[in-house]
Symmetry: C2
Subunit: 110 residues, 2 copies
DNA sequence: TTGCTTACATAGATAGTCTATGTTTGAGTC
DNA sequence: GACTCAAACATAGACTATCTATGTAAGCAA
């Protein structure tokens, strides 16, 4: 069974934003599942990381949240990207790729 | 002027080990330079991160250090990988690639 | 001897994840 | 209808690892 990894510090916001860009109006639990499945079961976001991150991003205006009901009739907060959120996502992806590219250079020198 | 980035938490040991695997017997300052140049000027290790990291790795037996003299006749500590250090490097690179691959999966889907 | 630089070093701040725990609420069961 | 279980959200505190800021020692040059 594949060992599940922690989310690398600094990448959680990006992963959440990206997940909501792919499919909007997911609630917390769904976002966590999306990240796990979408990463082929490698990345696992813990609730203690997820909810504070969502709050931060609400306050920064990257997301809006709306209380609703799940298919099983449970209350849940559904999140959606704002324009600022999309812009932020772009920025974070750019920065991530730049750093990841730099690390790749170190890891495979000719 | 290309914006220089911080080293992502969790990657510094790997970067140092990889640098010493490419060229052995570098001292601290040289390692920092190697990482900066080797990353095309993207990654900058600060001294306050570098030296504690080197100490940690000495104590864990991943490196051995030997005091010597630079070409300019300054005292410096030259580092070299141990067998344990090589093994650790392999392990860290594997883990990093796995996580980076998982993140790429999340970032990619159209 | 003054100043500049190299090289190493440490303390404390900071950021962002996790673990552990707790609350509310709906659904199913006896 | 009391009881249990799980979904979904939430918060506090721990932990890890980077950074900033600062300091020391030593060599060289003016």
């Amino acid at each position: 069974m594949p060992a599940r990894d922690e989310i690398p510090p600094g990448t959680l916001d990006m992963l959440i934003l990206r997940t909501l860009a792919t499919r909007t109006d997911q609630h917390g639990f769904e976002i966590a599942e999306s990240i796990r499945h979408g990463s082929d079961d490698v990345l696992q976001v813990e609730e203690g990381s997820l909810y504070p991150a969502l709050q931060r991003m609400l306050m920064k205006g990257w997301l809006v949240g709306e209380w609703g009901r799940t298919a099983e009739n449970r209350r849940a907060r559904y999140y959606r990207l704002t324009a600022a959120g999309r812009k932020r996502l772009e920025h974070e992806v750019d920065a991530y790729r730049r750093v990841a590219g730099a690390i790749a250079l170190i890891l495979r020198p000719a």
